[in-house]
């Protein structure tokens, strides 16, 4: 075991995948010598060569599209998008092509590609460096979308994404990149790609979150515990498909569910989770499902970040509404 930050954990897992499987390639902007703008790929080009850790021209549509062709040529490309919003030029390649490949081969062939997407706010970055576009992808049939929330969980999830025969969008909550260390094993083993994880059990209320919001949920649960409420936290990890069984189980245990996400509220994951619980656990819900989410606005410039980001206070306030229901 070694202590690793989220950045280290992803770096070590990529290193392991490159060492274990010659079909794995990394591509993206500034990922080679520079090691990526977040240093997630630091040292990997030196170790595995410039033919496997590849600096691309500034051309997201081009290299995400090329990843599809690389899959056909027998590779397993792991593409880094430099920041959340810069995936938009590649949207067509993901939506119209990567997502539909298995469908277009009558179920015969998938595309074993991963798109790594540093996402989310709270880093005081310029415009379009703080978006949370997970819903845009979770809405597209044919894509899997996952998001780790800590160093220990990131490696196994990433390895599973790389092993997956279908395209996976791997969302990295960048504000947690260097947030803290956790022990990670020398060799990572893959986790299931479609399972939520109970971070904290509860009896009175379940907070459902993913990525950087898990931390907020845990802080809120601790605060609520001071008020005598036993509040659980469920970390989704898989954003598509949702872990229905874990969600229904949580609803069964607590009867009260509050979903937290940073992406705008409208048509966000909270809406899907609320609908799913209506469909599968209506008789177990003791209160309506509520959401704490980003407002329906572009992510604000840095001085207003905290007005936008779901925080502990907002979660506690909404939680009380549910607990008192």
């Amino acid at each position: 075991m070694t202590e690793a930050t989220l950045v280290d954990a992803i770096n070590r897992t990529l290193d392991q995948a490159l060492a274990d499987d010659p079909r794995v390639l990394l591509l993206g902007e500034d990922i080679g010598r520079n090691g990526g703008v977040f240093r997630v790929t630091a040292g990997l080009q030196a170790r595995h060569g410039a033919e496997r850790v590849i600096d691309t021209p500034l051309s997201e549509a081009g290299f995400v599209g090329a990843a599809i062709g690389l899959c056909l040529a027998g590779f397993r490309p792991v593409v880094e998008i430099q920041f959340d919003a810069f995936v938009y030029p590649a949207f067509e390649q993901l939506v119209s092509h990567a997502a539909r490949f298995r469908w277009r081969t009558a179920g015969r062939y998938g595309l074993p590609m991963v798109v790594r997407l540093p996402y989310g706010g709270g880093t005081r970055a310029p415009e379009l460096h703080s978006d949370s576009p997970e819903t845009l992808f979770s809405h597209v049939p044919g894509l899997r979308v996952v998001a780790p929330s800590d160093p220990a969980g990131a490696g196994p999830l990433l390895l599973a994404a790389i092993a997956c025969e279908d395209p996976v969008v791997f969302m990295e909550p960048k504000r947690l990149y260097r947030r803290g260390r956790q022990p990670v094993p020398e060799r990572v083993t893959p986790a299931p790609l479609d399972r939520a994880v109970t971070v904290r059990p509860g009896r009175d209320l379940t907070l459902v979150a993913h990525g950087a919001m898990v931390e907020v949920a845990v802080a809120a649960a601790e605060r609520l515990a001071e008020d005598g409420a036993a509040v659980g936290v469920l970390d989704l990890r898989s954003l598509y498909p949702l872990d229905r069984d874990a969600l229904v189980e949580a609803a069964t245990e607590t009867g009260r569910v509050l979903v937290i996400h940073e992406a705008p509220r409208h048509c966000g994951l909270g809406a899907e989770i609320a609908a799913l619980l209506q469909e599968y656990a209506a008789d177990r819900l003791l209160a309506p499902v509520l959401r704490v989410a980003g407002a329906d606005m572009p992510f604000p410039l840095l001085r207003n970040e905290d007005d936008y980001l779901p925080g502990c206070a907002a979660v506690v306030e909404r939680a009380h509404l549910l607990l008192d229901y």
Partner: protein
């Protein structure tokens, strides 16, 4: 326009790119001085002011960033010549479409420097008045502003008006689809557009050699059926001449021009970047003699256009004008969430009103 042999070009790697680029300040001294004396003196001083205005802003912004008083900042030190030369070659009726690298060109259109600085501090008061200045908001995703410039220019033609639109891009941006689509559309629609590519030879850590297999970005123009012009990007006078000619051509119905301003990124990509990780900083330092404020000062003095004292007075005046900007922006009250929510749509839907922002108050 005069093509002249370079004299003061550096021996740095990449300097050969300047060969054949239109230059005035890079001409042999006697020729340079004669060429400068052919330009009306007030215009030269205007260009000099433009350079110094942009530099004063950049200096101040870098200081404030180091003090933690603004956010991540994209310095353009060394690129003042292409920015001031291009924008000052236009009339106030012409539109400009900047990127994050041209964060202060609005100040060349009379917008107070507090405004773009507020933007870098992360305050929505930093969104300047786009229609009054005819400068579009800066675009962060590279090359995405170019189709906008082309559309505006196309609009001028549809209206039968004679203004033009100029869009900026970097060398890295030329690898994006939007660059190609913008160039092609501009040519096909005969849009009076000018696309200025600042070839500073780096896109963060990616050198131009890893970006494209042509050595001259201007050569790409041929593929779209428009002229491509290369200019010394450290030369404010040459940039002004090249963009003036492109604008005159566009106004006369001659269609778009691709301008490649050859220079070098003297500083880091931005304040979060560490260039020593990926490039030889000695090579970067070898480009320092081309730094446009000092280079222009030397040339204007040598040509007898202005005295050192006169030029120093201009620099001083502009530095003074920018001195208290930090305090000025800090005095601007933050916007509330409600104020911000009122800027997404007009009229504001309930989702961004008090109820929508807070969620249900009662269950």
């Amino acid at each position: 326009m005069t093509e002249a042999a370079q004299t003061d070009q550096p021996t740095a790697p990449g300097a050969q790119l300047l060969a054949g680029a239109h230059t005035v300040l890079g001409a042999p001294a006697a020729l340079r001085d004669r060429l400068l004396r052919e330009v009306p003196q007030p215009r030269l001083l205007d260009l000099y002011r433009g350079l110094c205005r942009l530099r004063a802003f950049d200096d101040r912004a870098l200081t404030l960033q180091r003090q933690g008083r603004i956010g991540t900042y994209a310095t353009y030190r060394g690129e003042e010549a292409v920015q001031a030369g291009s924008v000052l070659a236009l009339t106030d009726r012409d539109w400009v479409f900047p990127t994050y690298r041209q964060g202060a060109v609005v100040t060349l259109r009379g917008v107070a420097p507090e405004v773009p600085l507020l933007l870098w501090s992360g305050h929505p008061g930093g969104w300047h008045d786009v229609h009054r200045s005819r400068v579009a908001p800066i675009c962060v995703p590279v090359a995405t502003n170019l189709p906008h410039a082309v559309g505006a220019a196309w609009g001028a033609r549809l209206r039968g008006e004679t203004w033009v639109a100029l869009g900026f891009a970097g060398d890295g941006a030329t690898s994006e689809g939007d660059f190609h689509e913008a160039c092609n559309l501009a040519a096909v629609m005969e849009a009076p557009a000018i696309i200025v590519v600042t070839n500073n030879q780096w896109a963060i850590s990616t050198p131009i050699s890893a970006q494209t297999r042509v050595t001259r970005i201007a050569d790409k123009a041929a593929a779209y059926g428009m002229p491509g012009v290369r200019v010394d990007g450290f030369d404010v006078v040459a940039c002004h001449q090249v963009v003036s000619a492109a604008a005159a051509r566009a106004r006369a119905g001659g269609g778009p021009t691709l301008v490649e301003a050859v220079c070098y990124r003297l500083g880091p990509h931005g304040t979060a970047d560490e260039p020593s990780l990926y490039r030889d900083q000695a090579a970067a330092r070898a480009w320092e003699p081309m730094e446009p404020v000092a280079r222009t000062t030397t040339a204007l003095v040598a040509a007898g256009v202005a005295s050192p004292a006169e030029l120093e007075a201009i620099r001083e005046e502009l530095a003074t004008e920018h001195r208290d900007l930090g305090r000025a922006i800090e005095a601007v009250p933050a916007w509330t969430a409600a104020e911000l929510a009122g800027t997404v749509h007009d009229p504001t839907p309930w989702t961004l009103g008090p109820e929508g922002l807070a969620g249900p108050v009662r269950l």
